[in-house]
């Protein structure tokens, strides 16, 4: 193996089987206090509903559980280990004070149905965060209920539909640029709108001519990511909004890329009517291996009657409470009030930053992406030369000549001690390498990354097989995904 790998060194890590393979009868990691009420006869109370056996649930001790999960954890890459440049995912530092305050007793143990009188702390957090996010987005109102970005999209489109219905016509379709996230069309389908694709122009932006041609009174909304998935700010955003609004359509903004905008420009000021935020991207709540997220939806005044119930209000006596009496609401999108624990973390993040910190964060995120672009230009093909905001998209065009594709380069990057960038997305760039460093990377870390990427580009020229066979340094080599899908093994079974 070539030795330009500077960031990572191989070291021993522990093998570990499945927890079921460590189980044996009589081991236990639990202890309940003595029962202070009379024992019951379960078979008498439950009759035929009584369960006798829990099958092959494990029986293990506490130390084994600690070692089990600790060993598993060491097989993961994480932001805490280094740069995690997944485009569109905004893998930024997850501050630890967020975790600490989310575990304070009254916050962690508050029951969603406890009386409002003793829920003022939680309501206050909800209200304060809502106000911050409303100012950050430049919108008029917000719902915190959606559990993730895609759930926010659904909530937003439900409000769009309700708005159009209130105007007498729900309309039929949603326009979605060909560069959009897969959740956008999937969401439109869930709200029973037809999806119509909108082409990008040579700059990688919405093709204004195409939009004008496709816009009609059948179009309920355009779902636009801005900056888009190429990391390009839609410079004609005002024209886009005008074209939509002229025919009564609404502008939905997917806020996945809000990390490029916070404190510098507000979607509400450039014509957006409804948008979702991802607290697990822009506002530093941890991704946790795939959630929990949180997808608040911010809206303009015209959509306010349609907000999901309940809504936090200040009551006559000055205390906070929930308003359930909202006749035009689209209804609930989940039980209770949303992923409250994520609100706590997002608010702690905003407090740690303040206005100047949020602005500096955005500036650093954009600076980092541009620094990487500059560093990798020439080594990789840049399909769109338009100015970069918070992420940059290259293609594998140069490497493809040697039979090396974006996924191969990504896998090789693992050997260099980095998590891969996002591969093969957006769809408008064949063989895309989508890189989003976020503000959390130092110059040193990015120099290492640039160096690694350049080194891989050289390897492709000199020794493509090394790249094609990567990763070489991981516990497992490339896994057989085809076999996994053809004959799915989705659970462990005891050997007979």
């Amino acid at each position: 193996m070539k030795n330009r790998i500077r960031k990572a060194t191989r070291h021993v890590n522990q093998n570990e089987g499945l927890i079921f393979e460590k189980s044996s009868s009589g081991k236990a990691a639990w202890k309940l206090p003595p029962l202070d009420v009379p024992e019951v006869d379960a078979s008498k109370l439950l009759g035929s509903a009584e369960r006798k056996d829990l099958g092959s649930m494990p029986e293990v001790s506490e130390i084994e559980i600690i070692r089990h999960f600790t060993r598993l954890s060491t097989w993961n890459y994480a932001i805490d280990l280094g740069m995690y440049p997944l485009g569109s995912c905004t893998m930024k530092y997850n501050p630890r004070v967020n975790e600490a305050v989310a575990r304070v007793e009254g916050i962690a143990n508050g029951h969603p149905y406890q009386p409002e009188k003793i829920s003022q702390g939680a309501l206050n957090i909800l209200k304060t965060l809502s106000e911050c996010l409303i100012d950050i987005t430049g919108m008029d109102a917000i719902t915190m209920q959606p559990a993730a970005g895609a759930h926010g999209e659904m909530t937003g489109l439900l409000m769009v539909r309700a708005y159009h219905q209130s105007q007498g016509n729900a309309r039929k379709k949603i326009l979605i640029p060909d560069s959009a996230h897969g959740t956008n069309p999937a969401t439109a389908a869930m709200v029973n709108y037809a999806v119509e694709n909108l082409k990008s122009d040579a700059r990688g932006m919405v093709d204004i001519g195409a939009l004008e041609a496709q816009m009609s009174e059948d179009v309920a909304a355009l779902m636009l990511t801005n900056p888009n998935t190429l990391g390009v700010f839609e410079q004609d955003i005002h024209k886009i909004a005008d074209i939509l609004h002229a025919k009564g359509g609404l502008l939905y903004m997917d806020g996945a890329n809000m990390n490029a905008l916070v404190g510098k420009v507000r979607p509400g000021d450039f014509g957006v009517d409804v948008m979702h935020l991802n607290l697990h991207k822009t506002f530093s709540t941890p991704h946790g291996g795939g959630g929990p997220g949180s997808g608040p939806v911010a809206i303009k005044k015209i959509l306010e009657p349609f907000l999901p119930t309940p809504v936090v209000v200040t009551k006559d006596d000055g205390t906070l409470g929930f308003d359930y009496n909202r006749p035009h609401s689209v209804g609930r999108v989940r039980a209770y009030y949303g992923n409250f624990g994520m609100f706590v973390r997002a608010l702690a993040y905003i407090q740690a930053n303040g206005p100047e910190g949020l602005r500096q964060t955005t500036e650093d995120a954009v600076l980092n992406a541009n620094y990487i672009r500059k560093g990798l230009e020439g080594a990789y093909d840049l399909p769109y030369s338009t100015a970069t905001m918070h992420e940059v998209v290259f293609s594998d065009k140069l490497q493809a000549k040697k039979g090396v594709r974006t996924m191969d380069i990504a896998k090789r990057l693992i050997d260099y001690g980095f998590h891969p960038y996002t591969t093969a997305f957006p769809l408008i760039v064949p063989g895309a390498l989508m890189i989003e460093p976020t503000e959390s990377e130092s110059k040193e870390e990015m120099d290492l990354f640039i160096d690694a990427m350049k080194s891989i580009a050289e390897e492709v020229e000199e020794d493509p097989q090394t790249v094609l066979d990567a990763p070489h340094s991981t516990r497992v080599s490339r896994l057989d995904e085809t076999a996994a899908a053809r004959k799915p093994i989705l659970r462990w079974k005891p050997s007979v």
Binding site: I19, F20, V37, A42, L46, A49, E50, R51, L54, P58, T74, N76, Y77, A78, D80, N94, I107, G110, H111, S119, Q120, G121, A122, I125, A148, G182, A186, F233, Q235, G263, V265, D269, G288, G290, R334, Y336, Y337, F340, G341, M342, Q351, A352, N353, P355, E356, L358, Q360, D364, N370, Y371, K374, E439, S440, V476, D480, A485, P488, I489, L490, W492
Partner: protein, 460 residues
């Protein structure tokens, strides 16, 4: 700013490398008229100590130190300490969805174990890696049945969590899925005659909850028989996962939509929680959400990958089974650790204690008033009907730092003056006795100093 790892000199050097004179030039693509020229109206930058103080203060305003008898889909169970120790490891906490399998085996294997244990507990063959919560899992479970049967209408039990019903109504509105509701009988169980009447040849599925919203365990086999006779599927929602330790799982169901919050997830004022869908293997391709499968690497070593992704939005776009992307992975890990800690024997003992506490409490209440829905088994919740408005009772209890059962008049006005009470292994006999006494003592005026001191003792 303490999270930003750059000095002013670094920034200068980077700008110079890029060939720019100032940061402003980076934002040149944004039309000048839209650029924000003022500070955001957010709190000023705070020190870590100030942030901690702020949230401690909010915590004190948020029911800290109260004893609670609330359940209704959100349950206070003990959370073993090692849950937080383990999920706080940065390799779990700060990792993304495990698309890059070679450096995500930790997350992938833990999800595989999670899927296995959920299958084991629910009696199903496959389980996904999580949904947002129990309510959205129920709605997605119903949509799955709609796709599988090619039928569109749905019969929903009135004894399903009212907020789950509301969520389903929201999801169903624009899917052209007519909903009808089947009521409950004297024993709190789904009224089978009403169910028979509600099912039509267009019914895709029947959605029930067991134990239901009142804590009553449904006769799942009988309901399944009715549903299946008419070619409809049965979707069963389970909101109190701990019940699975001692209550037969709804094996006759076609889809189980679960809320696993009870398994080690903090109440957290309603979220984040952990929905799960479990079903039969033959239905897996219509299942929403992520699935982890076992496979081998090039050298034949066991490994795990996300699989059957052709169901999902990033591949199928508008033809996906759901738009779900980010789900509740870290919460599923809490659930996973909890299930591992209690395991085969502990879960049963834990459930038995819940059963005993609720049985004892219901018995005490029955001495003074009416416990509804006798005649069917229940788990750890039950409905108490009083002469007095439960809100008035709860105000009285609150003065003693006790949060009484959930008044049901908002959700079930037909059950006059009823409240839903919940006991778990954490509910002490002292607090039960205190609460029962205060509920019965309807004429009690404000407690005397002596009494108050006594009750505070109890409530601590």
């Amino acid at each position: 700013m303490r999270y930003l790892p750059k000095s002013p000199a670094d920034r200068e050097a980077m700008l110079k490398t890029i060939g720019l004179g100032s940061v402003d030039e980076l934002f040149a693509p944004i039309p000048a008229e839209y650029r924000l020229s003022r500070d955001l109206k957010v709190p000023r930058q705070m020190a870590e100590s100030e942030i901690v103080d702020y949230f401690r203060q909010r915590s004190r305003e948020n029911g800290e130190g109260y004893t609670s008898f609330l359940g209704a889909g959100a349950y206070a169970h003990y959370r073993p300490v090692i849950i937080d120790s383990l999920i706080s490891r940065g390799e779990f906490l700060t990792a993304y969805t495990p698309y890059q399998a070679e450096i995500s085996q930790g997350t992938l294997q833990s999800i595989f174990e999670f899927q296995t244990m959920i299958c084991e507990l629910t009696g199903m063959e496959v389980a996904n890696a999580s949904m947002y919560d129990g309510s959205t899992a129920a709605a997605e479970g119903v949509m799955m049945a709609v796709r599988l049967t090619g039928r569109r209408s749905v019969v929903v039990a009135r004894s399903l969590h009212p907020e789950y019903r509301e969520v389903l109504a929201t999801y169903a509105t624009h899917q052209g899925m007519p909903l009808s509701v089947a009521g409950f009988g004297e024993n709190g169980r789904l009224n089978l005659k009403e169910l028979e009447k509600s099912i039509t040849p267009e019914t895709a599925c029947v959605l029930i909850q067991s134990p239901n919203f009142f804590g009553t365990i449904e006769d799942v086999a009988a309901i399944a028989e009715v549903a299946h006779k008419h070619g409809a599927m049965l979707v069963v929602s389970i909101a109190e996962a701990v019940s699975l330790g001692i209550v037969e799982p709804p094996r006759e169901a076609d889809v189980i939509a679960m809320e696993a919050q009870s398994f080690g997830v903090p109440l957290g004022f309603g979220g984040p929680y952990c929905g799960v869908i479990a079903t039969r293997e033959k239905y897996v391709r219509q299942m929403p959400g992520r699935l982890v499968g076992q496979t081998v690497d090039k050298q034949g070593r066991r490994g795990f990958v996300l699989t059957l992704a052709t169901r999902e939005q990033h591949i199928r776009r508008e033809k996906a089974t759901s738009n779900i992307c980010t789900n509740q992975a870290l919460v599923a890990l809490m659930v996973n650790i909890f299930m591992t800690v209690y395991g085969k024997v502990g879960l049963k003992e834990l459930a038995r204690q819940n059963l005993a506490k609720a049985a004892y409490t219901a018995e005490q209440f029955a001495k003074h008033g009416k416990v509804l829905f006798a005649g069917a088994p229940r788990f750890n919740e039950f409905v108490v009907q009083t002469k007095e408005d439960p809100h008035a009772i709860n105000s009285r209890l609150l003065r003693h730092k006790i949060v009484g059962g959930l008044p049901l008049n908002k959700f079930y006005p037909e059950l006059r003056n009823a409240a839903l009470w919940c006991c778990t292994e954490l509910t002490t006999r002292n607090s039960i006795d205190a609460a029962v006494r205060l509920v019965a003592d309807r004429d009690a005026s404000a407690p005397s100093t002596k009494e108050e001191a006594g009750v505070e003792e109890v409530a601590r």
